[in-house]
Amino acid sequence: MRQKTFFSLVLALTAVLCFSAMTFAGTLTDIVKRGELRVAVQSGAAPYAFVDKHGEHAGSMIDFTKGMADAMGVKLVVLDFDWDGLIPALLSGKADILAADMTPTLKRALKITFTDPWIEVQPCIFTRPDTDFQTLEDVNKKGITVGVLLGSTGETMAKQFLPNAEIKSYKGGGRMVVQALIAGHVDAGVNDDLAVLTVLPDFPPNSVRLLDKRLGQGKDPLAFAVNHESVNLWQWINLYFKTIRADGTYDKNIAYWMEGTDWKKDH
């Protein structure tokens, strides 16, 4: 009996290992053959990618990937993942493209291939209006807790620039960090300013204050990513961005989603 249990355990483990090691290279040929472009997003991040009031995926990156799918002549399939599940989703072959507001870091690039950055954002520190934090040094103290998103560049930056503060990481999108801040579980948060600003309308007015002080060089590039094997897809995406920059589609997208708030009426 005991031996049987052991054997079935070994069998189950082997099965798990085999399944996880089976990766599917998301090459262009595969995508066209399948008729589906599978895109992994983290949909808690307006205006990049989010679920709108009609229950549909919307956002700047959704429009971009929709354009890609149209250009390929295939259907767009949007897959939702938590922030820390995005890269594994790509690695395990569940998605062809990772379209999250992700910063290409050297560490991440060990595992996946990033396209050329398509936008630059600014990481920022935010806090409640009732705190008297003004500078980075005010936050970088013992006993002060800082909320970040698990696996985000905000987390890396908080660890780098706020070494004395206690870091708490949350899952489930930038909204969670703001929620934790308002609930008083953290004293400050670190995230991209655009990601913070766009979730603020969901909370009571004046519940969050952005510090003027930027973290790092104040520039955080964002890029799409593909599997190491999908070189042709990687080149194709770079070409796609060059094309839409030339024909004005890119500027229209950025103007609609990033520079104004008109999209809030439609979505």
Partner: protein, 222 residues
């Protein structure tokens, strides 16, 4: 395929895994202990004939059993601060697990008590035993024997449910796996290790329950 498995990373993260294991173990042990107390009290109120105790107990049990644990955790963590009550993460987790398991344990104990045949109680009454003597000598020894297996099951469920605390940034086993995944992008290695540690806890609990059933319950009952 197996060659892709990165054992070195697991050893590199072993200290963090041990912190997570300790945290899961601590949270689970405290929660199980408190849940047993909570469940016993809730059950005592539930079967009592005093309406002021009975109806609140029914309300508590039904509310907990009809809502997901994750919702309860989020309510305690994010909801209560708006009412002015703010509890740190680990304490929130322990309270949530205690309240959640308490409701199920109350029902398990109640089922154990009601499983004792009416005839036995009548025999007790006929023998002139009072309420507490009947409880002590007739009902509880038999009820306890019947409740130990489901109580063990509930404890194991609680240990596994403690994984949900990773969502409110408690550094327990699952969160260690998530952290490793977010830093090294190796979910297979991370979550297989996490699963292995959960299995270790499970076998410890099982051994404890087997021992207690042999040593304590059977001696009481027979």
């Amino acid at each position: 395929m197996l060659a892709d498995f990165n054992l070195r990373i697991i050893f590199e993260y072993l200290p963090l895994f041990l912190i997570g294991l300790r945290s899961t173990f601590f949270i689970s042990a405290v929660s199980i202990f408190l849940a047993l107390i909570c469940g016993t009290i809730a059950c005592a109120c539930r079967i009592s004939s005093i309406k002021l105790l009975k109806y609140p107990a029914i309300a508590y049990i039904e509310v907990i059993r009809s809502t997901p644990l994750l919702v309860q955790i989020y309510f305690l963590y994010f909801g209560l601060p708006t009412l002015g009550i703010r509890v740190p993460e680990i304490q929130t987790g322990i309270i949530a697990l205690m309240l959640n398991s308490g409701a199920y344990i109350a029902e398990i104990i109640r089922a154990g008590i009601t499983s004792v045949d009416d005839g036995q109680i009548e025999a007790g009454v006929a023998s002139g035993l009072n309420y507490f003597q009947r409880m002590r000598f007739i009902i509880l020894p038999q009820a306890l024997g019947a409740t130990v297996p489901p109580l063990l099951g509930q404890s194991i469920v609680l240990v596994k449910d403690s994984a949900l605390l990773s969502l409110i940034s408690v550094m327990e086993l699952t969160r260690v796996g998530q952290t490793m995944t977010s830093e090294r992008f190796m979910p297979t290695e991370a979550f297989l290790t996490v699963a292995f540690f959960y299995m270790c806890i499970y076998f410890c609990l099982k051994a404890l329950a087997d021992w207690s059933q042999r040593k304590l319950i059977y001696r009481e009952a027979y």
